[in-house]
Subunit: 455 residues, 2 copies
């Protein structure tokens, strides 16, 4: 594989393609990330040679380099090939077409990487401009330019400002406006997950940036821009309220753990940041390795097994477990689940529904079920295994006739090559009577209400 020169690279970009791992320095940088990921896996107490993890360093390196390819892209090359002459009004007073006719593209799904904690965050991007000089830009380029800056380590406000400024310089219009709706996954940490089952799963923020006629957010033109967003059901109330200097958007900024982080793992994350083309000494990145490692350590491998032998006092009717009263199916729905994909070191999260026969369980029992979910969730996992483990462990508590449905959103489905925003994964485990009685399965499934576990 020969090195791809810049010209080819732009050609590839134009094709909707991105740079592969080709040239020698590229291979070296990928190797550095792979080595760093091995250090992280070892720090988590994992066997880096077990089947599910063997290619994880490679996958993580690829995903990270792909997800930060924006560092290598030049806005000029994207925009210049797609500026088209377009007349303004032929006569009379007004604005239209290539002179003053507002253009707005809404609902561009992007993702970016949080510079504060290295986790991906989702972005609904709305971007518009007011053409001038009898010149418009190809619509897709607004998306491509936004992606150049999204595919870096970012903070929402800087992302909006950089997209805005790049378009202003690239198109030279009368003005550019950018509105970003950002959603950052917000995990509870291992300990607090057990204590607080109503944990809020997302940190959200809306940021805006404007140049030219959009520079002043009090201008009428902003109102018109926001009206056009409203037509699509996008109601931005807090425009103008930029994130304050404290920068509390990233949940990792608020973690007040005093636990010292493993210095080898911190050094490994620092080397990753460097090989992505960033300066680990940039002010905003100084604490990032530590924050990432602290977060990651929520998923360390533990030796102890969850023991539930002898626990069935939480059954509402202790006699039910052997009697004939227990023909009805009990359900515990929407137990929250947080986990980490072992193939990509990226979070997935969702809900668990559990069905079982017999007498219901009391509040202690429900909290035990939730603990079982967290116990198996806070590890490097795959959803299929997690579902089986929850079923097996919970069967000790609620009996051998048990059915488990797990519904999750996987960050690795959006922040890698396939970028499938909005997709979700369901898995199922059926034990005992649920395995042999289709009617029992159907009854349990009917009891689960439609939901939206998405952003």
């Amino acid at each position: 594989m020969g090195a791809l020169d810049d010209g080819h690279f732009d050609e590839e970009l134009e094709n909707g393609l991105v740079l592969g791992v080709c040239s020698k320095p590229e291979i070296e940088k990928t190797k550095i990330i792979e080595d760093a990921v091995k250090v992280l896996l070892l720090g988590l107490g994992e066997d880096i040679n077990r089947e599910g993890l063997r290619k994880t360093p490679f996958r993580v390196a690829k995903a990270l380099r792909e997800g930060t390819r924006g560092y290598k892209l030049k806005v000029k090359d994207i925009v210049q090939s797609a500026l088209f002459p377009e007349a303004g009004l032929e006569s009379g007073v007004g604005h239209a077409g290539g002179v003053g006719g507002l253009v707005l593209v809404r609902d561009l799904d992007l993702f970016s990487y949080c510079e504060s904690c290295l986790l991906p965050f989702q972005v609904k991007c709305h971007v518009g401009y007011v053409p001038s000089g009898q010149r418009v830009v190809g619509l897709s380029k607004l998306s491509r330019v936004a992606d150049v800056f999204a595919k870096r380590l970012q903070d929402p406000q800087r992302l909006a400002d950089e997209v805005c400024s790049a378009l202003q310089h690239g198109i030279m219009p009368t003005g550019v406006a950018v509105v970003l709706q950002c959603s950052h996954i917000h995990f509870p940490n291992f300990a607090s997950a057990f204590l607080n089952s109503n944990h809020q799963g997302w940190s959200k923020t809306v940021v805006t940036s404007g140049s030219g006629v959009f520079e002043d957010e009090k201008e009428m033109i902003w109102g018109e821009f926001l009206s056009l967003l409203k037509f699509r059901g996008i109601d931005i109330d807090n425009t103008g309220s930029r994130i304050s200097g404290d920068g509390c958007w990233c949940p990792s900024q608020n973690i007040s753990t005093m636990e010292p982080a493993n210095s080898e793992m911190i050094a490994a994350v620092t080397s990753i940041i460097q090989s992505l083309g960033e300066d680990p000494l940039r002010k905003e990145l100084l604490g990032t390795p530590t924050r990432f490692v602290r977060w990651l350590m929520n998923f360390r491998n533990t030796d102890f097994k969850m023991k539930l032998n002898g626990i069935d006092r939480c059954r509402n009717n202790p006699f039910g477990s052997n009697g004939h009263v227990e023909e009805s199916i009990q359900t515990e729905l929407n137990l929250s689940l947080w986990s980490q994909c072992e193939h990509h070191l990226l979070p997935f999260h969702g809900v668990v529904h559990i069905g079982y026969f017999g007498a219901g369980i009391d509040a202690i029992g429900i909290s035990l079920l939730q603990s079982i979910v967290h116990f198996h969730g806070f590890k490097l996992q795959v959803q299929e295994r997690l579902t089986r483990q929850i079923a097996e462990t919970a069967s000790v508590l609620v009996g051998k006739d048990i059915m488990v449905v797990v519904e999750c959103n996987h960050t690795c489905m959006i922040s890698r090559g396939i970028e499938k925003f909005g997709s979700s994964t369901a898995t199922m485990a059926v034990l005992g009577r649920f395995a042999t009685e289709p009617a029992a399965r159907a009854k349990f499934l009917q009891s689960i209400p439609p939901s939206n576990t998405g952003v």
Copy 2:
């Protein structure tokens, strides 16, 4: 640029990348498509050297080759690198994990090309399988495999069957199920658009395919699969109702125009089909070039100008246009718009909202406004220019104080590299008092109700 060998190609795919136009046969095939597109543009009466069209042949060739890259991909290479050992139940009766634990990925947004008319169609893909042999597949591979077959000239049922069969052979599970919700754009033809303003914009169909335990659609397991879809609000009523052999899903099959199609253009489309790697003599493709050309001819360039001089008898109050009664803003909302992007030869469609001062217009006037929209829409266009032209022409009818908002979905935003499903574009033109009075603009914008012009 050196040729990319197969190994590298798979590597690139794995990276979420696609093959660029690199090797010599590739360049030649691209050249064939470019030449064919020039024939099509000439057949439409266009100047292939005008600025907006100069690079259109290149863009179309790239988009088509990119959008049909599935012909070059091998499922085996995608799946084999991502099969992971995963245990079934440790003990007891039941199914879970790598043995029998149903896995379902929902809401994968894909697009494909209709083999009957060459237009892209959108696909919501839901795919699942029941693992066996203590083996699961990486979740993203379900999406990648579906995309291998989506990125070809397709028919919904064959697409579902091919995805199903490929996964069955690739993963060797107990069974595979595929549900596709497909939406095909349904343009009126030029003439009927003027007659029927309530034209239905989409042809939709749901298809299913199953193998192994999913082979029989009466099996309970299908019910469970559909229950898991319902949790995400996806209610498939007509499962089991495969499209009949008549294959009426593609609207172009129903066009009964007797107009002979230009044989040079037909030959050009045939050469495109061939250079994508398809056999133009395949039964389903035999009429495709003719259908495509007939459809495309809706957008031919015409010399005549729309003349509305002297027409204002459709004003409800003919005296209003010079009097003082006309302070109120009148609106005509949701006029339907069909057009063709001149940069990519791909359709865009949506609605037009028109605001103006003075007395309202009667039914004839509204129908004239709708005709103005169609007159400018049925051409090779860009939305910015179209918006301006509608405003300028309509001002003859409703006066020089006019504001036009156009909201569209562009097929070129989804069926090319950026694949931005759900994005939409708004453009605006303001003339006369709307240009000088921000309050008038605001008032008109407030009168437009939120809508969803999407699929």
